[in-house]
Point group: C2
Chain length 99, copies 2
């Protein structure tokens, strides 16, 4: 395997509803159809195994760093973050790495 | 795809050397040979694209939640954490989810 992976986790603010989280998942799920640079796109909700875990995660694989940057800066992605994620984020943790 | 994924990121404490980080990667890299419950095991170091990113990440895939729990609690894993990771961790972010 050779490529570039983006991983981001969120903890939601107190009072965030499952409906809001579902909306984030649904909106993110539309991005692969709009941003062809996305290779694989895995969205997950914490399974509740360990205390202190983050609430929500995206693991996205790209052909290379440039493809990731197209995704990062894509207007559909930015608008989705602004409208649905930013209002409910309490904590964010992210990393990008070569796979 | 159907399985269970564990994602964990670390920020290292100030003064952590690349040698220490390499040692963590090397020791983690031995775990799949010792813990057969591990499916795929991806270790990464931040590519330096975005400010504020975490330093180090592990994305591990398992057949199911029980297989993950074997890994989580395996003595080889716990000893490795205790000896090589715990002394240099500043921040940790983790999530587990069904894939």
């Amino acid at each position: 395997m050779s490529g570039f992976r983006h991983v981001v986790m969120f903890k939601w603010a107190e009072g965030t509803t499952t409906g809001q989280q579902d909306e984030v998942a649904a909106k993110l799920g539309q991005l692969p159809g709009r941003i062809p640079e996305i290779g694989t796109y895995s969205i997950g909700v914490d399974a509740g195994v360990n205390p202190g875990a983050y609430d929500f995660v995206v693991v996205a694989d790209f052909a290379d760093r440039d493809a990731y940057l197209v995704y990062r800066d894509h207007p559909a992605h930015r608008a989705m973050i602004e409208e649905f994620i930013a209002p409910i984020v309490a904590e964010r943790a992210a990393i990008q790495y070569e796979t």
